[in-house]
Symmetry: C2
Subunit: 380 residues, 2 copies
């Protein structure tokens, strides 16, 4: 049921088609995040309208509420949330490690307390795979340990654990008989250390996963460290498998990631930014609370074809944001997702045309990143 | 620009067509409430999809934020909120009277403090009309005093003030030259006292308004008092003018109101109920938090054709409500408005068919009202 066709390359940038049980995903692709089985403030029919082809949902959150077993009894996550295109679930690892003092890691797994009610739970590689089987996403992820990127001893230990757990995930996934319906991806760790990244890539590619994620980025390293790690790690992954950069999604990071051969991205940035009252544009981020928009009859972004930009002024959007109206969240979410999904389509077309280098250079020349625009990992 | 054609009657129930500068409104009609220039949690394109033909917006709130003068400079309320069908604005009177200790009433007007920042403001009949001219709604309302319904002395004094203010509103409206673009409605007061209602109706109909509201209901009187007041007051209003029952909108109140000759309703009930996690149905109200829905794969309401009911289960809606997801507000708002707007269309069809009495009896026989379903006046 799974196949990845590499259709074109433009430098390191790749255009491909990733076939899954719920449809084909043209790559490079950005996956909006639907943490709790909903991409916040947007309806599935609007995601279809935006031509989103893949969304991510979170194993930890769905395990907590409403429970992966309940979702399985309701026919799986696709039916539960009325989304019939591909879904990717994370392993839950990142969330439980984020619990800090509320969790304890050992070689077998992680014991943690719920952020909701303090109840005690345990995730192991086998448990993560079982939950992801219950949810039924097209792409599921190995349970890994994501360390802080700069402490070599910590990173090395996390790599060893990640590799041992990857073996257990593969075994649990094969034992369960879901491999024709769900593709398991491996996650390369190694922090900012090239030799550890190389060792991790070698270990995981030997396991012959359907796809590979580069993990442990966008978690505290600098932008240049992130890009250097991609430069070094991407060529170590098999060309005929999709490559996924987890938790990354600012406009400039998407362009820089595609330029280095990334096929799949996900990030809460566009949806979370919207709920914080800010818009993403090709020129940079706009804080809609600013007084300068109070009587501006122009759209958020000139030339944008989204529902928000074709119907509403900056003045109206500022009013919605200032009065905390839900419609403000909805309209900014629509625009922000429209921008990122459009960027991905434009990059794919440029790769197929052989003009990606020019496209990327032009985009980055006019884009003004702000400190707030760092890629945002999911948080509790 | 304004005309009301009475097309059919079925008992006291009326079907008509109210022509305004932004289009014709088939009556009886329910107007969703867009307090701050947005019907909460729903987009204008969705209101078109639901075939809403009239919405209400609030003078007090828009005067405060973003300011009626700003809206005028932005081309008026229709353009500002991207809604090109008819709008009705209230006078702001109800909101400033609701401020309680923060306001002082005299014969000339009301001085009050903002609920937002405590700043001091003053509304008079002339000021209310000026604000409503700036907003530019198709239907605007006289600035009136809405008393508690049972204190005869208070009600009598409020009637006298309401009548004096109505004269000033008419004069301000004519002086401004907006009468061809905006229709001014008078508001009948009189609490639960038939003689005071009759006197108020007589005074106001002498002023020859484009339409008439029955005010001072759904503010603390019993349901039977409300219906008795409608029974007594409706026949006193001219048959060739639209009749508006302010702040009323539970399913049973809509049916009972139409049965007594009401043409126009508005209420925050369907939208506010949705944000509180409850659905309106033909059988009564459903609290979506209840455990009984946790694994229910059925839609909210069997046979309902709205987006929510045709795509999502009760189990999913309960999950959204329990996790405070914005999509829960959106989907329940869609359903609740769909139900009330569908009821209005069904009642209109039944009146045109001459079968309204049967329709109303059947509806009320299966509808189970709850105490929480009392019509809800707008609040701050």
């Amino acid at each position: 049921m799974f196949r990845f066709d590499l259709q074109a390359q433009s430098g390191a940038a790749r255009a491909g088609m990733f076939y899954t049980p719920h449809g084909a995903i043209p790559t490079p692709v950005f996956a909006p995040v639907g943490t709790q089985a909903t991409v916040k403030a947007i309806q599935p029919r609007e995601l279809y309208e935006l031509d989103a082809t893949l969304i991510l949902s979170n194993t930890y959150h769905l395990y907590m509420r409403p429970g992966d077993d309940l979702i399985a009894r309701m026919g799986g996550l696709h039916r539960f949330m009325a989304w019939d295109r591909p879904i990717l679930t994370d392993s839950g690892g990142f969330q439980v490690f984020s619990l800090g003092a509320l969790r304890h890691i050992d070689d077998d797994g992680v014991t943690f307390r719920s952020h909701l009610d303090g109840s005690v739970h345990r995730f192991t590689p086998e448990k993560s795979i079982q939950i992801q089987h219950n949810l039924g996403a097209d792409v599921i992820m190995c349970f890994d340990e994501c360390p802080k990127p700069h402490d070599r001893d910590e990173v090395r230990a996390a790599c060893e654990r990640t590799h041992a757990w990857a073996l257990r995930c593969v075994e649990a996934h094969q034992r369960n008989g879901h491999a024709d319906q769900q593709a398991l991806f491996g996650i390369v760790q190694g922090g900012v250390f090239p030799d550890l990244r190389a060792e991790s890539a070698r270990f995981l590619t030997d396991l012959d996963f359907v796809g590979y994620a580069v993990g442990g980025l966008a978690v505290g390293e600098s932008k240049s460290e992130m890009l250097a790690t991609l430069d070094q790690t991407m060529p170590l992954l098999p060309a005929d498998r999709p490559r996924y950069l987890m938790g990354v999604g600012s406009p400039e990071d998407l362009v820089n990631g595609v330029a280095r051969g990334v096929d799949i991205f996900d990030c809460v940035l566009p949806t979370r930014t919207a709920r914080h009252g800010a818009a993403l544009t090709r020129q940079g981020r706009i804080n809609m609370r600013n007084l300068e928009h109070a009587e501006d009859s122009a759209p958020l972004e000139a030339g944008c074809t989204c529902y928000t930009c074709t119907h509403f002024s900056r003045a109206y959007l500022r009013h919605l944001v200032k009065t905390n109206e839900l419609l403000g969240h909805q309209l900014l979410t629509l625009h922000n997702l429209h921008l990122l999904l459009t960027l991905m389509r434009e990059m794919r077309a440029a790769i197929l045309d052989g003009t990606f280098a020019v496209y990327a250079a032009n985009f980055l020349a006019t884009y003004r990143p702000t400190s707030k625009e760092a890629s945002a990992p999911p948080s509790l």
